[in-house]
């Protein structure tokens, strides 16, 4: 392989890399990722560095990110094909500059849009490099609209599986759900804009949660302990309200958020992170009220809450919510790792061993259920592969698909007999819709 050609492309990144001393790095990968990053860069945060990674020079040129890593298109296309023989050398060339950008980071957030070429192909690699550099990796993946075609959907799903294997926490932002918020005559461009605005709202809240230390801080290790090793898609939602009734309104809004599936996501959540962001006038009663309402929706979940105060948020109240669903018995992610890159496991686990020790106390304290955490991996993989050679390929995947399909009919909520009557809206809920559907009760 001609390593020399890739050297110059990586070189602009290499010299600027050592400047990064911030504990949090946010990568925008691919066109969608870079676009999302642009909206975030405006929201300054002195603990966060923004890095744009893309194969498209035009997209990078418009990016507002202070650090840009251009990559060569032809090489990365081969990654997308998933061919390991071509992948390894390509990885070696680019990993150097990516690793430099990840150095000394505590948390790496990867923003990407799945379904295309760049985002789908590169983001798992970025995630892996970041993990090898000792950081915790949180990925926020935007899934395509249904109308973008089934091929894109398949690619996105495949990308998601690969990404899930590499990251500590994965947050899914399905565009299709945003569609419910947009009325029919909206232009396509505006649709994307609205979708982006919705996602940015959530991401801003996430960053704020990590960077602003406030009233009731959420420590990074605590958050990671909660997300770590789950290997399931979390849901991220944010809502804002102002005025005297903001505590009630904000709860109504967040519970009606399309990404929460009408409360379904909360009801089935195992861990929920709630972050409140208010001005100097944020009252304890309001925090209490919001938390009371939210915890009521997720009684079985482990709830981690934080509250921050910011002058700019006077008279406003923003709530950001991350809900992590119950992980399936054997995370399919591990199987993917075992099938696809069995050889890689050894050096991965060694890298993890390096990252783990400082976090261990939090992990054991913060976790409610014993989960197959990455810490047990060094000795496990071989045993597991031997123990159930058939299972690993077929069974766990089936369970996940079945679970996912079970929630589909809930998208269309029927009002039955009251279909044509005047809507019965009470505190933001339509009382004509069966209560058990609104509360997200799963009938067995």
């Amino acid at each position: 392989m001609n390593t020399l050609t890739s050297e110059p492309t990586a070189s602009p990144a290499a010299p600027s890399a050592p400047e990064l001393t911030t504990p949090i790095r946010v990568f925008g990968v691919g066109n969608a990722g870079v676009n999302l990053l642009n909206t975030l860069v405006d929201n300054d945060a002195d603990q966060v560095s923004f890095i744009a990674v893309n194969t498209d020079p035009a997209s990078l040129a418009t990016s507002a990110a202070p650090l840009k890593l251009p990559l060569e298109k032809s090489r990365w296309r081969s990654l997308d094909a998933g061919n390991d023989s071509e992948r390894e050398p390509a990885l070696a060339e680019h990993s150097a500059c990516l690793a430099a950008a990840c150095r000394d980071a505590k948390l790496v957030v990867i923003l990407t849009g799945l379904g295309g070429v760049t985002g789908t192909g590169i983001s798992p690699v970025v995630a892996r490099i970041a993990r090898e550099a000792g950081a915790l990796v949180l990925a926020c993946a935007v899934l395509p609209f249904h109308y973008e075609g089934s091929r894109r959907q398949h690619q996105a799903q495949a990308g998601l599986e690969r990404l899930r294997a590499e990251v500590d926490g994965l947050i899914c932002l399905p565009n299709q759900k945003i569609l419910q918020l947009i009325d029919e005559r909206t232009a396509l461009l505006d649709t994307f804009k609205t979708a982006n605005a919705r996602l940015t709202e959530g991401l801003c809240g996430l960053l704020r949660l990590l960077t602003h230390q406030g009233l009731i801080p959420i420590q990074l290790p605590e958050l990671c302990a909660l997300l770590q090793g789950r290997h399931v898609e979390s849901v991220l939602a944010a809502a804002e309200a102002h005025g005297p009734n903001r505590a009630r309104e904000v709860v109504d809004r967040i519970l009606a958020h399309p990404l929460l599936d009408g409360g379904q996501a909360l009801a089935t959540a195992e861990a929920v992170v709630v972050s409140l962001h208010g001005g100097l006038d944020l009252a304890l009663a309001e925090v209490n009220r919001v938390m009371e309402q939210i915890t009521r929706q997720c009684e079985t979940a482990q709830v981690l809450m934080g509250a921050t105060v910011d002058m700019a948020f006077n008279e406003r109240l923003q709530v950001t919510l991350i809900a992590t669903p119950r992980s399936v018995e054997v995370p399919p992610a591990e199987e993917t790792v075992a099938d696809e890159v069995a050889g890689r496991t050894a050096d991965r686990s060694s890298a993890e061993a390096g990252a783990e020790p400082p976090l261990l106390p939090q992990v054991s304290r913060g976790r409610a259920h014993p989960l197959p955490a990455p810490t047990i991996r060094p000795s496990e993989p071989r045993e597991r592969m031997q123990a159930r050679p058939v299972d690993s390929a077929s069974r766990p995947r089936k369970t996940t698909t079945r679970l996912r399909q079970g929630t589909l009919p809930l998208d269309v909520i029927s009002r039955g007999r009251f279909d044509k009557t005047e809507p019965n809206i009470h505190r933001g809920e339509d009382l004509d819709t069966p209560t058990y559907l609104r509360r997200g009760c799963v009938l067995n």
Binding site: G416, F418, T421, E422, H426, D432, P434, Y436
Partner: protein
């Protein structure tokens, strides 16, 4: 035989049934129930008429049945109204006492009541009731009849129940088409409270929940007068609809399942039990989990009670409910619903029975007739009978016996 003025008929046009109750006011002054007629309602949704022809037919059936049972001819009725458009709020009127000796006179009283009734409502709204709660003299509360007292400022508290005029007229119109005169209309929640609440409960403070087929009517009494009222457009129909959606059965079947197997609580021992549904020939059609059925019902009932509780709490009246909660309407027939309500409200819960009236006990003890029976009582209170000889003296000593002021 009977003087027509001594007969009062209460008519409730409900979502699940239409009910007419005939009462006769005897010497004791307490209505005696002499006839009840009912008919399944087919043209009403959430307490409001959606099919006039069918509703008229159903009303006629109910009235004919009541006439036959009571052996009277019905010409006028007191009509119950409900629907999500009905709201209640409290208003206060102020009147300065300007006379030299500062004595409060009957005229002052009428003036202050007039002021309290003068409220700003949208044009399309109509006041159903304005109920006197009490008077304040110079800012001191607790006067029920301040005539003759001295003071410089008289205030009156009123509870006003109002609704959308057109929607109220719809129900009245359906009755008028049957060549019947509607003597007066009353909010069904209020009527139910007249039927089920003993006098002590009104004094101690009580919450009356009339959970019928299409609406849940709420009235709060405290200190002897109505303090709060409201309507939630959720009722037994919603339970059936939830079951129809949740168990994937037709609405009629869901209704039947609700009646046969329904319950407000998910008991431990029903977990894993199943229910078979058979068709007309006795062949099994479908099997349901009883737990699912109960859970769907529990969710709806719990939510409804919770909404009522929040409503009462927001009105600041929760702490006044010393006598507890009185449930009536068809939904209070659901097994163990009182236990669920006790859980939600944290108060003693009673199934409302119209024990404060005399008459046919078997019908009086049924909570679903509470509204219609209450309407008879409302009518009897509204129009004191002429033949009583103490009328004039009675009026003098009890000028406010008629607490339900004219609209």
């Amino acid at each position: 035989m009977f003087d027509s003025s001594a007969i009062f008929v209460g008519l409730e046009v409900g979502t699940s049934k239409i009910c007419a109750v005939v009462g006769e006011v005897g010497d004791s002054g307490v209505p005696n129930i002499i006839g009840i007629g009912q008919c399944a309602s087919r043209g009403v949704r959430k307490g409001e008429i959606v099919d006039t022809a069918r509703t008229e037919e159903d009303i006629r059936h109910a009235l004919v049945e009541a006439e036959q049972m009571a052996n009277v001819e019905i010409r006028t009725v007191f009509l119950g109204v409900t629907g999500s458009h009905i709201r209640g709020f409290n208003n206060r009127g102020i009147h300065p006492i300007v006379s030299d000796n500062r004595e409060i006179t009957e005229e002052d009283l009428q003036d202050v009541i007039k002021n309290a009734k003068a409220i700003n409502l949208p044009v399309q709204n109509h006041v159903v009731h304005s109920i006197r709660q009490g008077f304040l003299v110079d800012g001191h509360d607790g006067y029920t009849n301040p005539v003759g007292l001295l003071g410089s400022r008289l205030e009156a508290d009123m509870h006003v129940v109002h609704g959308n005029l057109n929607r109220l007229q719809n129900t009245i119109g359906a009755v008028n088409k049957l060549r019947l005169k509607v003597e007066d209309i009353a909010f069904t929640g209020l009527a139910s409270s007249l039927a089920v609440l003993p006098r002590e409960a009104k004094e101690d403070g009580a919450l009356v929940i009339d959970m019928g087929g299409g609406t849940t009517d709420v009235v709060v009494y405290a200190g002897g007068s109505v303090k709060h009222s409201g309507v939630l457009a959720v009722g037994g129909d919603h339970l059936s609809n939830d079951l129809a959606i949740g168990l994937k059965v037709p609405l009629g079947r869901a209704e039947q399942l609700k009646i046969e197997y329904g319950g407000a609580l998910v008991e431990e021992n029903i977990k894993g039990q199943t229910v078979d549904v058979v068709n007309d020939f006795g062949l099994p059609l479908k099997t349901f989990s009883l737990e699912n059925l109960r859970r769907i019902m529990w969710f709806r009932l719990e939510e409804t009670f919770d909404l009522v509780r929040r409503d009462v709490e927001e009105a600041g009246l929760y702490d006044y409910l010393r006598a507890g909660v009185y449930l009536c309407g068809g939904c209070s027939r659901i097994p163990r619903v009182a236990e669920l309500a006790e859980d939600v409200f944290g108060l003693p819960v009673f199934i409302g029975r119209s024990d404060c009236l005399s008459g046919d006990k078997s019908s009086l003890s049924q909570p679903e007739f509470a509204a219609a029976i209450g309407l008879v009582r409302f009518g009897a209170n509204r129009r004191p009978t002429k033949r009583r000889k103490k009328t004039f003296a009675f009026r003098l000593t009890h000028p406010f016996q008629d607490l339900l002021g004219r609209r």
